[in-house]
Symmetry: C2
Subunit: 329 residues, 2 copies
């Protein structure tokens, strides 16, 4: 596992919680043979104790005793068959995550990631590399956290011709807009979101729609087979939405939501009017998506878009899919 | 295929629409070797033309030239490896559907059904029979039409501990309650639902909650491993909901929805207050469900609960899952 922040620690906890489940389903443990944080690592071919790692990180700030410079060198030094890449997102260069994922796929290892940077920048290259080397490459948690949208499109809806996906891909914006529905100004709602820990001190990435745009790119590439990057998205954020606009929408039985729209020809993030009672009119920090396809019509899904356990649950679902697949072959 | 009403014809059309998809994915066609309606059948070991059957049914009222008395005798006379059972629902005895499904599973054939009667009455027996004979037995379309709830719980969320499911399992009731939100009385809304073709002339099965209760039973047995039938459900319908109750809910920023609640200890269908903006506050004929689990938290899904193409799409998803599985082994 590369990365041991909130999501990495959450996934370590989930591995401990699901130890018996995994043992029973596969007849063996999922061994954590190496874990890196940003500067140190711990490794043991017999398997590390995930909860011990979480405790050590909490008390010392580091996951391991050994310092390292280059994650690829660390990966070269251990035997592993799957990389869980959960290092911090860098949407400008792809960061260490892009290097680690590339190395793992080149080495014919399966990869699970929730890291939006590499996916928004180099999706096509990474998927081709995985295909060439017959590796599994899964990234459910990169869009919508616990909301199972990518696997839903790829697996449950594989017989459908999907025409479009419209969704709420940023819980912070949805929280702010929901608070504005209840009469707060944008500034009041943003301040409250910051106090609640939903928005960062510099909220630009969320409120200007950049985070939603990354997710739209991932869906465009993975569900619609497009070849687009962040700069291809038409983006309008929510910072200029006034209380008057919200009130006018409400008078027409509508709410305003920040919607990412993805289709074979569209790639856009912008505030939209949504009728109350519509599946995308949901309130709070939830993420949601509506998938429109030729047979099923509109199918909507919502769930928690972020969170320690919640994002870890998406990684677990990818891990189970990969282990099921290995068991079969 | 046993049954050639709306859903059966819809599935025949879907088979024609997805002919190329199936051929490409599996290297062979899905051949329809025998189709029965309530009194006749057509059979051809080389495969019937699904669109010709639909046309014949439309022009003559019958799918085939040969009359029959007993669906089991027909099945004995043809070679097949999968039964699609879509005959009319009989929740008192299970009807012809129960007989056909039982015979198919006893003969070690895979079965896909959307028929709520056999599932609500004899779930445990049918699942045991399928397990004993190593057959696939799938029924996604029996709950929520195109909304992929059963496969979502069994596959995407297999690593979750599901604590409860609460859902809107009847689109007719939801349509009526949504119209009451807009100021209609129950009687006006019901009349409109009947004019639109959403409610039957005798609307008892929908408005008294019996249809929702069948679906709650199927979820209780299939997702929670319970062994319950229709008579175990505590049922309250929507016929006594007044405009005053709706107005009072609205004044508190709530709506009233007919909710089925299923958990290891609960099995109930009753009108509930749902906050506006909640995933279960949706309007119109949609079905919806909220699945609460230990890691992901609440995941909600909604979609069209009925319809020719929509229910057929659920059958298609089950067919693909079965064919994928056969391809692997």
């Amino acid at each position: 596992m590369a990365g041991f922040g909130t999501v990495g620690q959450g996934f370590a906890e989930v591995l401990a919680l699901r130890k018996d489940f995994i043992k029973e389903r596969y007849g063996e443990d999922a061994r954590l043979v190496c874990v890196m944080d940003s500067s140190t690592y711990a490794a043991d071919p017999d398997g590390l104790d995930p909860l011990e790692l979480v405790a050590r990180k909490k008390s010392t700030g580091k996951v391991g005793d050994v310092r390292y410079q280059d994650s690829v060198e660390v990966m070269k030094s251990v035997e592993f068959d799957l990389l869980v890449e959960v290092s911090p997102t860098d949407v400008k260069t792809g960061g260490a995550g892009l290097k680690s994922i590339t190395f793992a796929l080149e080495s014919k290892k399966d990869v699970i990631t929730v890291n939006k940077g590499p996916l928004a920048l180099k999706f096509g290259e990474l998927v081709s590399l995985a295909r060439k080397n017959r590796c599994k490459f899964r990234f459910e948690g990169s869009v919508g956290g616990a909301m199972p949208i990518i696997n839903l499109c790829h697996e449950n809806l594989v017989g459908e011709k999907i025409a479009s996906i419209r969704g709420i891909f940023n819980g912070t914006c949805n929280y702010i807009l929901s608070k504005m529905d209840n009469g707060q100004t944008f500034e009041q709602a943003l301040k409250e979101a910051q106090q609640m820990g939903y928005a960062e001190t510099d909220p630009t990435n969320d409120i200007e729609g950049y985070d939603s745009a990354c997710k739209a790119v991932i869906l465009a590439n993975s569900v619609f087979g497009r070849d687009v990057t962040f700069s291809d998205v038409e983006i309008t954020g929510i910072s200029s939405i006034t209380s008057e606009a919200i009130a006018l929408a409400a008078a027409n039985n509508m709410v305003i939501r920040l919607i990412g729209e993805v289709s074979p020809t569209k790639l856009e993030v912008s505030p939209r009017l949504i009728p109350k009672g519509h599946p995308l009119s949901i309130a709070g920090t939830l993420n949601a998506a509506q998938i429109v396809s030729d047979l099923a019509g509109p199918i909507s899904i919502s769930g928690r878009g972020a969170g320690r356990k919640e994002t870890a649950s998406a990684i677990l679902s990818d891990l189970i899919a990969i282990m099921d697949d290995r068991k079969r072959t």
